[in-house]
């Protein structure tokens, strides 16, 4: 069944903020081959003017994929996660993400299209810090293969 385009424009707010951990950043950096001392070494990060170690560029996926998964598998949207493949991904930053950030994800359904029997859903995740300031956004397009 095709996804309902009436869902375009809906926003889902994650129920609680995500606290970015220093060890999670190091673990993610190791898993993606990011060797910059800024991601691993607290002293190096502080010397460069950051409050704590900085996240690798693609780190926000840890938060946004979870928030988006919860949003789009809501029965009113109806995405079947087991039939989904990742189509496009984008990250945009207003400021660096560092350990200690407490971030809330607002997931917005930007578009739903049907192409050749497959549904494509594009989601924007807006990240806000504990002060309510925008840190940046992510865009994720998922392709749900036809049954």
């Amino acid at each position: 069944m095709a996804l309902d385009a009436a869902n375009v424009g809906r926003t889902f707010i994650a129920p609680e903020p995500y606290l970015v951990g220093r060890e999670k950043i190091r673990e993610f950096a190791q898993a993606t081959g990011e060797t910059s001392p800024l991601c691993h070494d607290l002293a190096a990060a502080r010397a460069a003017g950051h409050a704590d170690v900085v996240a690798p560029v693609t780190f926000p996926i840890v938060l946004t994929l979870k928030a988006m998964g919860e949003a789009v598998t809501d029965p009113s949207v109806g995405v079947d996660w087991s039939r989904v493949v990742h189509g496009d991904q984008r990250f945009s930053y207003r400021r660096p993400l560092v350990a200690g950030d407490e971030l809330t994800v607002h997931t917005v359904i930007e578009s739903i299209k049907t192409l050749a029997g497959n549904d494509m859903i594009t989601l924007r995740g807006d990240l806000f810090d504990a002060a309510g300031l925008a840190l940046g956004s992510t865009w994720t397009s998922l392709v749900q293969r036809g049954e």
Binding site: T32, E34, L38, K66, H86, Q89
Partner: protein, 137 residues
């Protein structure tokens, strides 16, 4: 951070990685993306894939190293986007699958940022398209 010299057309040093099943499991744990198709052969085959495939986000995470290792600071990347075009199949052996990433300065923009276009190739085919990063040097 170290100074880098560039102009439109400058090619960045390439990065080559070899993904094994252990790398996929490590990324699954680090990212929280536990989708079975990235580590469980039976499931991957059952959904019509040629085998276990790497997370697109693992490929995307490594591809940006072309930029971050060149510029020396991941926080200088202010925008980064990729389209995933082909799966990277990772066999259950010690060799794994090699992926090579390259990058080139495509433009120097009015706000003094530069745009780098990126490519990823595995087994002779490109696995990402429309891949680019905006860098504030």
């Amino acid at each position: 951070m170290s100074e880098v010299l560039y102009e439109v057309g400058t090619e960045l040093p390439p990065v080559t990685v070899r993904f094994t099943r252990a790398d996929l499991v490590r990324y699954a744990g680090a990212s929280g993306d536990l989708n079975l198709i990235h580590w469980h052969e039976r499931t991957a085959l059952a959904v019509g894939l040629p085998g276990v495939i790497a997370h697109g986000m693992l490929t995307m995470g490594h591809a940006i190293r072309v930029v971050t290792e060149w510029i020396g600071d991941p926080t200088k990347v202010v925008d980064y986007q990729v389209r995933f075009t082909r799966p990277v199949v990772v066999p259950d052996d010690d060799e794994g699958t090699e992926v090579t990433f390259t990058g080139k300065v495509a433009s120097i923009n009015d706000d003094d940022t530069l745009t780098v276009t990126l490519s990823a190739t595995s087994a002779g085919v490109t696995v990402m398209a429309k891949a680019s990063a905006v860098v504030r040097p």
